[in-house]
């Protein structure tokens, strides 16, 4: 994760970080991979341009794409503290495919950015309008009252 220097934001403004989570069904990677080549290219180009524009507007904090959920494991500690892994998930379960963290002036701005991500091009270049979960990131301790 790479933290970028902010280029915009007035002093004294509230620090508001949001995580925008792109969730999809377990087979969403397969659906993505099954698109025509030109549509795949358009989608990739959109995602790159999108992250770049967040950097240019000074709102980018971090982004990561996650590997295929087929490789995912659910881990919990056993009695001896050793990991117990479980890798079989029901087909219906939704998985995180990737996320952005943005630093914005208002929740409305975070929703706007999420809407742009949601409209990423899919088959035939049409917007996918995929659901993006928007959650505020908790901040450090508040200032002390003197």
């Amino acid at each position: 994760m790479k933290a970028h220097k902010r280029v915009r934001k007035s002093k004294g403004a509230e620090d508001m970080k949001y995580i925008l989570m792109m969730n999809g069904p377990r087979n969403s990677y397969d659906i993505f991979g099954a698109m025509p080549k030109e549509d795949i290219k358009a989608h990739i180009a959109f995602m790159r341009a999108f992250s770049k524009s967040l950097g240019e507007s000074g709102e980018f904090v971090a982004t990561e794409g996650l590997a295929d959920p087929k490789q995912a494991k659910m881990v919990r500690a056993g009695k001896d503290g050793e990991p117990i892994t479980d890798g079989v998930f029901p087909e219906a379960k939704e998985f995180l495919a990737g996320y952005w963290i943005v630093d914005v002036e208002s929740p409305e701005r975070a929703y706007q950015i999420a809407a742009r991500a949601s409209a990423a091009p899919g088959p035939g270049g049409k917007p996918i309008n995929m659901p993006i979960e928007v959650r505020q990131v908790l901040s450090g301790p508040p200032e002390e009252f003197q």
């Binding site: 994760m1 993505f32 991979g33 025509p36 080549k37 795949i40 290219k41 790159r48 992250s51 590997a67």
Partner: protein, 421 residues
């Protein structure tokens, strides 16, 4: 503090001096960890003061003096702390520097530091971080940035690395003749990892991080200049140059991966290619052939082909045959299978992949699926190729590579008739 940045010449000088200054300070104060911190502070001070006040007359002496002052301050406060804690003020001799032993040259100091930082007692990630800081003269922030981790994480990694060195009791001196070959292998391996980290970034959306590759080349060049007779140091430098020469051709405008066979060869860096080939030409005839020289020779064969169809695959196959005999590495076996397919046809390559399946070490590795997909495509079995491209895409942890593999599968589904070598 806002200061105009150092010009490129001074920056280069500073980075070259870093290991020499550190060597001198360690000799004087005998404490690697504290000396390393002090030299870092001196480098930062130079970066702030030199642009403002001009280059000192003797930059090396300036840095040693500033670092030594920091060491003295550090030891004073350390003594005060101990006095407070133990009330035993018997440590006065700590402040008296050891007589400056200058028996070894600056070059030896740089080598000694490399041997220390790449010691087998360290994990590769610790060795990489410490080498970049102590020998490369990079700041913790710069290293953290290159590896996309928070600065505090990198600071901790470096501090732990220094503790491991202290605990291992490695003396600040050149290794014995018996140890030397093994220790040099570790050094070259760490430099190779730094280069690869820069070349095929293992994390993040970008495929290449230039600074790390260039830093690896700079450090390997130093090793080669200090040990001009070491064939593998020369081989590693040649390998880096011959690989780095293709850097700009390796990604497209949208950051997409462009395989060797599809690259615009006119943008390959001919200076790097000439230098790499000259290094190899001077090294190979000496007869102590090692894996880096062989990999460099393979890179050279690719680089010498002006068009992809000019590639001398029989020679590449012969080189992989040699390499396979020298190292028991499944990745070498995989590349050997590709070369064999290019010379004898895809079925020969696919048979070699079956042997790799049986070997088991690459089970579940995306590269095995990607190569199998490629050879199946060459053999005309597009359905099976699509399946393996897709499996490889699901298994890779590189975003540009995943995008590339998905696009390959899509291309085949659409029946685009471009079978690539």
């Amino acid at each position: 503090v806002t200061a105009s940045p150092l010009d490129a010449g001074s920056e280069h000088l500073l980075r070259d001096l870093a290991p020499q200054v550190l060597g001198a300070v360690i000799r004087r104060f005998r404490d690697f960890s504290a000396a390393e911190d002090a030299v870092q502070e001196a480098l930062v001070a130079a970066a702030v003061q030199w642009p403002r006040e001009g280059l000192p007359e003797n930059p090396r002496a300036w840095l040693i003096q500033v670092a030594s002052r920091r060491m003295t301050d550090h030891l004073r406060s350390e003594m005060a702390r101990r006095r407070r804690e133990t009330a035993a003020a018997m440590q006065v001799d700590l402040l008296a520097p050891a007589p400056a032993v200058e028996s070894e040259s600056d070059g030896d100091d740089t080598l000694i530091l490399l041997f220390m930082c790449c010691h087998a007692a360290l994990t590769p990630s610790s060795a990489i971080a410490l080498t970049l800081r102590a020998v490369g003269g990079l700041t913790t922030a710069e290293i953290a940035n290159a590896f996309l981790v928070p600065e505090a994480t990198m600071a901790q990694r470096i501090s732990r690395a220094k503790q491991s060195i202290k605990a291992s009791g490695v003396p600040f001196s050149l290794p014995t003749n018996q140890e030397r070959a093994q220790r040099l292998r570790s050094v070259l391996h760490v430099l190779y990892l730094i280069f690869n980290e820069g070349y095929t970034s293992s994390v993040g959306p970008q495929l290449q991080r230039l600074e790390l590759s260039h830093e690896a080349i700079r450090l390997t060049r130093i090793v080669h200049n200090l040990l001009p007779d070491d064939a593998e140091a020369a081989g590693l430098l040649a390998l880096m140059l011959l690989t780095d020469a293709r850097r700009t051709a390796r990604t497209g405008p949208d950051g997409e991966l462009i395989p060797l066979t599809k690259q615009d060869r006119t943008v390959w860096d001919q200076n790097e290619i000439s230098e790499g080939i000259a290094l190899l030409a001077a090294t190979l005839p000496r007869g102590s052939i090692g894996p880096y020289q062989l990999q460099a020779a393979i890179a050279a064969v690719h680089d010498e082909a002006a068009r992809v169809e000019d590639t001398d695959w029989p020679q590449i196959l012969a080189l992989y045959d040699l390499l396979k005999r020298m190292s028991d590495n499944p990745m070498v076996m995989l590349n050997h299978a590709i070369a064999a397919a290019m010379v004898h046809g895809p079925s020969t390559g696919l048979e070699l992949l079956d042997a790799l399946d049986a070997d088991g070490r690459l089970t579940g590795h995306h590269r095995l699926d990607a190569v199998r997909a490629h050879l199946l495509e060459m053999a005309g079995d597009h359905q099976a190729a699509i399946a393996h491209y897709s499996t490889a895409a699901a298994r890779t942890t590189s975003l540009p590579e995943r995008n590339y593999l998905i696009t390959q599968a899509a291309r085949l589904r659409e029946g685009t008739p471009t079978v690539e070598p």
